[in-house]
Point group: C2
Chain length 420, copies 2
Amino acid sequence: MDRRLGSGFAVSLAALALTFAPAAAPALAQDDPAPPARPTFSGSDLGEGPWDFYSEYGPIHLEVVARLERPWGIVFLPEGGMLVTERVGRLRHIDANGTLDPEPIAGLPAMYTFGIAGLKGIALHPDFATNRLVYMAYSKIDPMDATVSSLAVMRGRWDAGSHELADVEDIFVADTWYGAAPLPERCCGQGPAFGSYGGRILFDPDGYLFVTSGDRNYGEMVQDPASHYGKIFRMTDEGEVPEGNPWVGLDGHEPLVWSTGHRNPLGLAYNPATGELWESEFGPRGGDEVNRILRGGNYGWIDVTQGMHYNGEQAEGIRNVDGMIDPVLAFGPPSLNPGNLTFFQGDTIPGWEGDMLLGSFSEGLLRYDTDQVGMPIGVPEHLLKQLGQRWRDVQQAPDGSIYLLTDQTTGAVLRLTAGE
Amino acid sequence: MDRRLGSGFAVSLAALALTFAPAAAPALAQDDPAPPARPTFSGSDLGEGPWDFYSEYGPIHLEVVARLERPWGIVFLPEGGMLVTERVGRLRHIDANGTLDPEPIAGLPAMYTFGIAGLKGIALHPDFATNRLVYMAYSKIDPMDATVSSLAVMRGRWDAGSHELADVEDIFVADTWYGAAPLPERCCGQGPAFGSYGGRILFDPDGYLFVTSGDRNYGEMVQDPASHYGKIFRMTDEGEVPEGNPWVGLDGHEPLVWSTGHRNPLGLAYNPATGELWESEFGPRGGDEVNRILRGGNYGWIDVTQGMHYNGEQAEGIRNVDGMIDPVLAFGPPSLNPGNLTFFQGDTIPGWEGDMLLGSFSEGLLRYDTDQVGMPIGVPEHLLKQLGQRWRDVQQAPDGSIYLLTDQTTGAVLRLTAGE
């Protein structure tokens, strides 16, 4: 314990680190789901491409692979090609030649697709090459009330060339059931009931599945260790609890939880160079974060945030609050609106070895140099900002190139490589 | 990658961070195993105790539990009591009342016990309560040449009250076979062939066994990724390779390796509050280190060290060398001679929650405040220094007290609690 870091010290550190831009507080009724409280950035038309730009270390080249509606997550197939989720509820196949199959893969359950709800992250089972199991997070409809939804993770078997997912089943359904009406009384002008699902998923090299779960704009639930709101889970490929999870066997704690105190964690990346899990999340007004996720960590929401609440209230805490882990990076106001993140491996784009790439809706693709332990350092380079896209996902393909998804109705899958 | 941190910058940082005390270089023949190149600290007679001291946060109380010869590692039994290794090759049982069984537990293999060789770290299988499997690292004798030894990990079954270990077998034998003569030509005045085994072991909550392996005073072997010199291994409870290890499937790499570039890693701790692995290691003259162990990390030895070689040569690199991870803490010259380390959990000693405790041979028991992500901060408190002991192991018992082992011929097991 360190008694020397008192609250006075914390406040002065925060004052040094952050400048809050005073902003008019939108007057939102707590139960009004209609106007999104966060200023949205709808994105521009992409155009045809290809494009050639310069990054700090040399030329880069970007081209469109396919056009999709609100693409959200992408995985690369061992036989070449990829699967891409569309938030509107479709799973798509692009083959090794970059040709999009015009027919979506059928067999997915009905899902809630209002607002930002819908089909989310995707991951392949570590033994996908033999068992062909695909995992996807989505917004599940309450079978008893179609206005109520929660986060779930399904899996199904997809054979190469097939147009249907087989043996589809949920391996996890969160308890974040929540709907349009009647809404519970909530503080701080939180947003609509069709938001903040989380839903980014990945397998780590030990074969554990990590799943992010948002606060459903009901942040008061997050610090309840028994609830699924605002958590990152670690589970087996069957959705079961690994013995090594931090709160296994503790009364009043959900044993699937790996970390807590998240608002809307939409990005999740494993850095193979360090073995660490990293996460990006939407905060409230400002307070977007990048976190290094530690086992059993509490990242503060709703008690602690770098941002302001949507109704303009200052959040309760700022930094250095006992028991809460501060973000590695914090943004805004104005909001960065972060997409997914990844750590670049290899040397296919010279100078990018180990760098952290972070998508955003308003500031392009951010590239951070990293130090020897994978921490981002200095001021990021803002790439592709001139294209005006909402960069939702960023993933490195087996060939070393970077694939990007744009979160727009007329969205796209793009491929970024070293230029000439 | 960060091009801005060039070698000039690295050197100037190092100059800011460290002051090297010029020291006369002992003239050691490279093949002379006799005089230890590091100044030794033999320790003082402990006395009877008990003792009462004050730490920064209040009174602490220390008492002798048992007297042992060169105790090295301790584990706590689910039925109460503990098992303790003596470096001279004996395994001892202390019952729940703190009574030492005068009869050692038999059944251990013959082992090499010259110099600092012998019986080392101990760990209980995660399912010990039912399978009663005890794991121990030791210096194994080459069956073909009794002057040659290597690090090995044995396991055996120990039933409560038994005076014999059953079903003893090696689950891992390192390839660091090395002996008194003929010694290979080595640089830098490295020490004798009966040193630098490593040998600290632990199971993490996922059930993987971590094993530290020293450089055997043959540091030239450490940066060879195929060798077992100067590594930390991760293995299953059967000594097999977990699929998630960083170098699995790469030609020329030993797949059991989790991290590399270590000299003599004698301390290893898992911080349950962060899920991170930490390590302490003996460097050369100065250059003792505490490291946060990342998957696939390279900690620099023999190319990079904060210390000086035993023959007085400056080491090749200092800090910020590409591809090498710098220590979190570095000590000396003069050397700290670190023992094991642990992260204090709970509140049985008020004010110590989350603190890092690090044994040393020359500077007492160091207590560091830690921040919210488990990093030691500020200047440590030096506890128990007045007792003049070589603090080899430090472990927290299930009742929240701290057990300490002194690495002395007339050594002891001690118990540290909050005072009154």
